[in-house]
Subunit: 201 residues, 4 copies
DNA sequence: AATGAATGAGGATTCATTCAT
DNA sequence: CATGAATGAATCCTCATTCAT
């Protein structure tokens, strides 16, 4: 079988549990139970708990992979930043566990080198896209301040992360329509704010 | 003395280790070793590992406690926000471990209720101060956008957190003068950016 | 073919690994890897790890089987003992793994009954040959001491074993010519010593 | 407590079980059960199973430590060798487990470096004593053969080991008087044989 | 106030073995 | 004949916690 069913089940359960509780608070047996296999089976596919974790983290790279450069293809830089933000929010909606994992691991200090690398890579992908967008803004006469791109990047990233955290902590996205609406509104506000900031001549 | 020397040593070691490795990656014995006491001694002062952790997290409340309202005492709301940001950065400089712990715990989803409460309380303290500042801005004719205070709060908080994370990941603050200078510059930029955003009429 | 290629490969690998590391330090998977088959395949041929081990140990009997009686066919008992010793050394040269296994198992106390039996049988084969040789010596007027044959047997066996252990621990036989020569010399000395002892009138 | 009772109990049980079954066939739980402590307690005193094993093996050095040089203090080299042999047999009587362990480990090929070292050291102790005795023999005009000391040493060692193995495999020493007597006789014979060999002019 | 000794519960990992194909 | 997938039992080891002193 090319893409083992069991493998997929293990990964999915791992994703969920690691995201929720962190690597050291999840036992192999829990993952085994959640994925309906024997714990030895996990060792048949992955060399160790750490190995499984790394495989899961690698998925993050896949999720955040190419797409952000697509945003830059839009004509207007303000459209571009808007697109990038929506892409980011979409990723979250579609891979809540993975994105949660990403946010968690991003601020941990001691961790597996390979995990660290993946996190940096994902951040870089986003940063580079933002860098281009900011340059485009400047070309159009926007962003006349003498502040560095870096501050703007951190600001945009910061507000995106806070938006997601706000949502995450308010409970899962789909609880009811009202809430969904509320979140959509808030995301819209966030994007408007960012655009407003960049647009200043 | 209410606050025995031993107690203090234990707390300080716990702070350091918990901040660096997270609660589940630190053993009572490690804390005992770091603080030069026997692990049983820790149980003499604290009922359990969790209890010790809670006590440490409570320190965060002390650190972030009152001061932010001081910021609001300034005349100009732009001065107020500036003051608040510097306060935040100062807290970090003076309590790197505790602030790190705060940032870590802030994004974890599963955790001790009391820890959760403390984290919320600290966030609220900051948020309330920001809320007031934003209102003051509006009173002065700034911030003419129809965006909610909440987005502005998230934005400001986001950029503050990212600034600290940037610094934290670039290595300890005091490695050399150049670096210190670099960070100071960046912090300045961040504050300028925030003020610029709020100032818009 | 009675004796399939795969079977042979498994046995050979088992021999090597069991001799080197002992039964409990070798896993079925190691043997599978070494012999280039799947571990399930081993279970196709042998009922269990123990079963495989027994089959391998049985080889020892084949190796040490008949030949020692050949020694007794020589005319002179001193020639006989010399022949027996050389036979023993030759066995070692040609089946280092098996002989190593024999020496190992010989001194272990807890073991599979069938293994024990095989070891005893091999020892008996040698002992009986030696017994005959000693009787022949006495018939010729040698060995006038009132010591029992048993002590002589143990002595001869002891020196043979020590000679092999000496060589085994000094490294593999064929490292270089010098070493080979050195071992040959030592073996010669050992046999001379034994003959000298038996020859005493 | 200087010499923890628990420690002693663990060591004794380990000695017994390791000697009987070999390190990899004994579980920590078995040792715990045999010594009447919890298996965690073993880890309180020893870092790992291997560590415990090393500590036990170190005892071998203590047992075989100095005494063999005492043998050399006798006047006559034949007395000396006799003394040395009896010392060896006595060690066995008093520390059956440890000596068994020594014999076992002596022929294993793959093993812990520290264990290997201890085994070599013990062998050296005996070999050096034998070397001196052989030199003394030569000084007195004995041992006129042109064979090296090494062969003689191996021969003596071989017969001693075989004698012990013989006894070990025949069952524990003290089963009944008859058997005791039988073993004593055999040991006597072995020593006589050795002396006879050395005495040859 | 402080500690050394001891433990029970639980965790990661290994491994011989089975079974469907 | 041969194998990939799967498992249960067992193993080493860790760690928070307790208790007598």
């Amino acid at each position: 079988m090319h893409f083992s069913h069991t493998r997929a089940r293990i990964i999915r359960s791992g994703e969920k549990l690691f995201a929720r509780y962190g690597i050291s608070n999840v036992t192999i047996r829990q993952i085994a139970k959640e994925s309906g296999v024997n714990s030895s089976t996990i060792y048949y596919y992955y060399q160790s708990k750490e190995d499984l974790f790394e495989h899961i983290v690698n998925h993050i790279e896949l999720v955040f992979g190419e797409d952000f450069s697509i945003a830059v293809e839009k004509n207007d830089p303000l459209e571009q930043v808007s697109e990038l933000c929506w892409l980011f929010f979409d990723k979250y909606n579609q891979n809540i566990n993975l994105v949660t994992l990403f946010l968690d691991e991003r601020i941990k200090s001691n961790q597996n080198e390979r995990v660290k690398k993946t996190i940096r890579k994902v951040e870089n992908t986003i940063n580079e896209a933002l860098e281009k967008i900011l340059d485009n803004c400047r070309d159009l006469g926007y962003l006349k301040s003498d502040l560095s791109n870096l501050v703007y990047i951190k600001m945009i990233f910061g507000i995106l992360v806070e938006t997601i955290l706000f949502q995450k902590r308010s409970g899962s996205l789909l609880k009811n329509e009202n809430q969904t609406h509320q979140f959509l509104t808030f995301r819209n506000e966030a994007i408007h704010l960012i655009k407003g900031i960049l647009m200043v001549k």
